[in-house]
């Protein structure tokens, strides 16, 4: 995608006529259009434009809860947006269409250029043009010695500067800076590599979430995971067979100053095995420090409290004795909401919904809250229900919400419970004891085989970019001739890719060095002349390049 390619496409702009153009010509025309720079530009803009809704609308893959909220807030608009993939912009067919076209355009432009570069790198530089004065950079000055000595000096100098050389009768032409095009091509090819890497991850990778209470463990199977998003070609048997137990979770918070209550550190102590029966490893999982098991990465992405309860039903049987994860509803004090479902209780199934307060306070008006996120004064407040929990009515139900439509409120005085305290339920329904609390951590589990290729592609793209911006491809021509007064040296220079500028400085340096090499006799040098002005410069470029092509 350079000016050169655009020019080629520009020449092909003439639309195929009626009679003499068959389908092949049409295809060629379409292909030229697609691989032209203008099309690439339009596609770049389109891709940028198409990304915007993805940042404005809530996205299914990022925040499903926000999407649900959007449905409630805009009941008329949401289904329309959903039809247009508005909540999954980056997976939308129209988004894919744009980037596939862009990458096709890129490939169609870059691959022929790579071929041309390979070809030109085996060819010597073109002959020196007859009139060096027409080049963008040129100078001439008399030299003391004979002409062939001056030419030899020029050849030595250019060779020492590692130019590729071609010599002829009274002239040398030199070319350098092929790495410019190499860098440019590397950048564009690396982008294709990046796309392939992303596709690899999308096909063979997976993402999962697991909420894990301290002291508990799980095996990496779809049923044990809370949320599981497999790649298109991933089946349950492809999951790496590790298992993880969280032995302990600690969280520390800033205890004083203006940032009191802000988290300072989280640490989840894990023990894990890569295969069943394998050796047990230990790892302190922290934010920014993921665990790597068998190529799968495990991250700490959240935490909270799971108060533990013991429920004895009306018949005196212990029907529940376990930690129940509560979900934090605010950051400052980490007050958390949760529900307890006891479907096996007799004579009635029981349900409780309530709040866990890590450092509880109660105002004189009776409202309660938590003033610090650490569990300094843990309390729970629970409201009890009896009746039908509707767990078996066929509808999936969240473990974090209670459907009380077929339940009755159990009448007892609501108050904060300290660990060890109980609520004795009236009417012989049983007893609930708040036995203590544990902490939970939520883990993100990701496997992405495209990750390393993506990293290498990105770094290659960066390297190519820097290379193409730093290196300029340039040609230097020297002609020597003898007239009546002695030897005259002509120097000309030309660059096609001088992105960052500075070729004129290099040319001046080169001229200076050449004069030094020729000795003081050339001291009476004429200042460089400006044969061409700004406007006719491109024309001069074309002349020189046309000459070089005409070899």
């Amino acid at each position: 995608m350079t000016a050169g390619v655009a020019d080629v496409a520009g020449k092909g702009m003439t639309r195929p006529g009626k009679a003499k153009f068959g389908p092949v010509a049409w295809l060629r025309w379409i292909w030229r259009q697609l691989t032209s720079m203008r099309t690439a530009l339009v596609l770049l803009f389109l891709l940028a434009l198409a990304s915007i809704p993805g940042s404005v609308l809530p996205q299914e893959g990022i925040d499903p809860a926000a999407v649900a909220q959007y449905y409630t807030a805009h009941p008329a608009l949401a289904p329309v947006l959903a039809k247009l993939s508005g909540f999954d912009v980056f997976g939308a067919p129209w988004f894919a269409a744009i980037y596939i076209l862009l990458f096709t355009s890129l490939a169609g432009c870059v691959l022929p250029r790579a071929y041309r570069l390979a070809k030109s790198s085996r060819q010597p530089p073109p002959k020196a043009p007859r009139h060096l004065g027409r080049l963008p950079q040129s100078t001439d000055f008399p030299a003391a010695g004979p002409a062939d000595e001056a030419l030899a000096a020029a050849t030595r100098m250019l060779r020492a500067r590692r130019f590729r050389l071609r010599t002829g009768d009274g002239w040398v032409s030199a070319e350098k800076g092929y790495l410019h095009e190499v860098g440019n091509l590397l950048f564009h090819l690396a982008l294709l590599g990046l796309l392939a890497s992303i596709a690899l991850g999308g096909l063979f990778g997976y993402k999962a979430n697991k909420l894990l209470v301290a002291g508990e463990g799980f095996a990496n199977t779809p049923t044990a995971l809370d949320v599981f998003h497999p790649g298109r070609l991933v089946t349950a048997s492809d999951l790496q067979p590790f298992s993880i137990t969280m032995t302990k979770f600690t969280a520390s918070y800033i205890t004083s100053g203006s940032q009191r209550g802000q988290p300072a550190n989280f640490n989840a102590s894990l023990s894990y095995t890569a295969q069943p029966g394998g050796p047990v490893g230990h790892y302190d999982l922290q934010v920014n420090h993921p665990l790597n098991v068998d190529g799968v990465q495990v991250f700490l992405i959240g935490h909270g409290y799971a108060p533990t309860f013991k429920v004895t039903d009306g018949t005196g049987r212990v029907v529940l004795d376990q930690p129940v994860p509560f979900i934090p509803v605010e950051e400052a004090g980490l007050s958390s909401d949760g529900v307890i479902k006891v479907p096996d209780a007799k004579p009635q199934a029981l349900g409780f919904s309530g709040e866990f307060l890590p450092t509880a306070y109660e105002t004189i008006t009776g409202s309660v809250g938590s003033e610090f996120p650490a569990a300094n004064l843990p309390r729970v407040v629970l409201v009890g229900y009896e009746g039908n929990l509707q767990l078996n009515n066929g509808q999936p139900q969240s473990v974090y919400s209670l459907n009380t439509s077929q339940m009755r409120r159990i009448d007892y005085p609501i108050k904060m419970l300290a660990p060890g305290q109980s609520i004795v339920l009236p009417h012989g329904l049983g007893k609930l004891t708040f036995t203590g609390y544990r902490q939970w951590a939520s883990l993100a589990i990701t496997y992405d085989p495209g990750q390393l290729p993506a990293l290498f592609s990105a770094l290659a793209a960066l390297a190519g970019l820097i290379l193409s911006f730093l290196v300029r491809r340039r040609r230097i021509f020297v002609r020597v001739s003898e007239n009546g007064n002695g030897t005259v040296v002509q120097l000309g220079g030309l660059t096609r890719s001088d992105a960052a500028g500075g070729f004129e400085v290099e040319f001046a340096e080169l001229t200076g060095e050449f004069k030094r090499r020729l000795g003081s006799a050339a001291g009476s040098s004429a200042p460089a002349k400006s044969a061409v002005d700004e406007t006719s410069k491109d024309g001069a470029d074309e002349v020189a390049l046309a000459q070089s092509k005409g070899e």
């Binding site: 915007i52 993805g54 802000q262 934010v287 993100a444 589990i445 990293l455 793209a461 001046a508 200076g512």
Partner: protein, 363 residues
């Protein structure tokens, strides 16, 4: 432990830096007012060549006389500064009309009392600014770009650093006033409105990747700011030159006499983006690696990520546009400014209006 004394010192430092930048701006403006014109505008030169009567020249005095003066001054500078002789030689041996002759008539070090004062004040301001950021970092014992207040201070510092380097490297002393203006305004708002007391960062930000990712972003943004300011000047210069060429009143002749003409400004802006774009690419890659460490995916279309992608695309479009017939010049310049608008939206708009994983900017 964070140290309040160091933090206070750091605040005093930022106010001093703002004042120094302000005085530098004043000196740059005085240089524009009182120094002789530094550049011969291509348009006036063309008119001068046509030997039109001086009275017809629109607000530009006598072009011929000024051209003579400029050459005169260059000679004088050449003689006055032997240390620079070789650079001058290189400059003078380049063809004056060539695209790269941005150095002709300009010297490596600033000439004239006001310009020298302005540049020294800018450098002093920069030193104080860097010291301010350093002491804030020491006070907090972390990399001092953890919130919006610190981030704005850092990107303006980067912009001034780029200005200083470009002034020396590309003799772009004429950019001083125009780059310092947005810097001073931003720093003023930063200190007066957004100020955040020192403190620790959230665990999510507690990684050495903040030093890599955010530093890359800061340097890239500094260069993008320089590029955008130069491009605005380019558009003004281009408008001026076209108007003068058409024999119309432009109203900008006074300021344009201090600027090197549209073609040079365009090239300077392009250079800024040539450095900024790889820096931005690097910063985005570093951010992706960090995101992978912290959140378990290297790219997740978080709003900040999406907008840095959009910014990348638009600047990539600019680089391509500049190499495409029909897009060079003004259209490419508008594309670059569009990219800058996306960048600014990412810095400000995304923080204010869209919530996402990067929402710890504390605004």
């Amino acid at each position: 432990m964070p140290s309040p004394a160091l933090d206070q010192l750091s605040n005093a430092g930022l106010v001093s830096a703002i004042l120094l930048y302000g005085f530098a701006m004043l000196a740059y403006a005085l240089d524009f007012l009182y120094s002789r014109r530094k550049f011969e505008s291509p348009a006036t030169a063309a008119q001068a060549r046509e030997k039109r009567p001086a009275a017809v020249l629109v607000g530009a005095g006598s072009g011929t006389a000024d051209a003579g003066l400029a050459a005169d001054e260059a000679d004088r500078n050449f003689g006055a500064d032997p240390a620079d002789a070789s650079a001058q030689l290189a400059d003078l041996s380049a063809p004056p009309g060539g695209s790269g002759s941005d150095v002709v008539g300009l010297t490596k070090w600033p000439q004239g009392a006001w310009l020298r004062t302005a540049f020294v004040l800018t450098c002093l301001g920069l030193v104080v600014h860097i010291a301010t950021i350093t002491t804030r970092g020491l006070a907090e014992q972390r990399v001092p770009w953890g919130n919006m207040y610190e981030f704005l201070s850092a990107i303006t510092c980067a912009a001034v650093l780029i200005l200083t380097l470009a002034s020396i490297k590309f003799r772009a002393y004429y950019m001083g006033l125009f780059v310092l203006l947005p810097v001073v305004v931003t720093l003023g708002i930063d200190e007066a409105v957004i100020y955040t007391p020192e403190g620790a960062v959230a665990p999510a930000l507690n990684s050495y990747w903040i030093a890599i990712h955010v530093t890359g972003m800061i340097i890239a943004i500094g260069m993008y700011i320089f590029g955008a300011v130069t491009t605005v000047l380019y558009l003004l210069a281009d408008r001026h030159e076209r108007r003068v060429a058409a024999g119309q009143e432009s109203g900008l002749a006074g300021i344009m006499a201090q600027l090197p003409g549209a073609a040079k400004l365009d090239q300077l802006a392009y250079r800024a983006i040539l450095f900024a774009f790889p820096a931005w690419t690097f910063a985005v890659i570093a951010g992706a690696i960090w995101a992978d460490h912290a959140w378990g995916r290297y790219w997740g279309w978080d709003p900040k990520e999406t907008w840095s992608f959009i910014t990348w695309l638009v600047y990539a479009a600019f680089l391509h546009a500049r190499a495409t017939a029909g897009w060079r010049g003004r259209r490419a310049a508008y594309v670059q400014l569009l990219g800058f608008a996306c960048l600014m939206f990412n810095l400000v708009g995304v923080n204010l209006w869209i919530s996402g994983l990067h929402s710890y900017a504390n605004m």
